[in-house]
Symmetry: C2
Subunit: 96 residues, 2 copies
Amino acid sequence: MFKELNPLLHSELRLAIMSVLLSVESADFVFLREQTGATAGNLSVQLDKLQKAGYITIEKGFKGKMPRTTCCITDEGIAAFEEYVAALRSYLGKRV
Amino acid sequence: MFKELNPLLHSELRLAIMSVLLSVESADFVFLREQTGATAGNLSVQLDKLQKAGYITIEKGFKGKMPRTTCCITDEGIAAFEEYVAALRSYLGKRV
DNA sequence: TAAAGTAGTTTATTTTATAAACCAAATTTT
DNA sequence: AAAATTTGGTTTATAAAATAAACTACTTTA
């Protein structure tokens, strides 16, 4: 009847992160913080979880002298997102 | 950018409960347990939360000698559900 | 009448989300 | 050139949630 909702994606902030990354191919920490409105601490934790799941990649480098963290969604992440949306449909019926 | 997801509805089981109640007008405890696959304990707790939020009504009576708990969605519950779906769209883009 | 089943509730445990505190380096102010 | 502030984060602590396990009360069946 109802499909299971991937608990890693069924989180407001992680869903927002994935949503941003789906639309931009690459986003840095500050951009993600602005777009999602999250606190830096929360963002840091959730990015880590997404990376550990293999849904995003995180690269740390420098822009000039300042640290810069760049995130990209992976193919696996895209697939997981699509599956999450498909699962959601089983709850929302024709509404979506 | 992203709309807030009502935390009361952003829960797999509570969303499933609401989804069932939207489609049937009235459902008893056992039916909800079967449809959602939830344990009785979890279902009991989540029904309570939905009732306290005013999203469903719960009536307790008897079917013969056995207790029977009947649940209905309220207008407020329907409205909250619709709003939740609208908020979800901001995360899912054209996918829904 | 003892065992098993039904319909749930309550309580305890584990997970999760979030915020607060912190750190290191860079920049700005005095 | 110190001192204070800002930037870009991470780590740790706390609050909230989900879930399971244990329990209650009653009924049915053997």
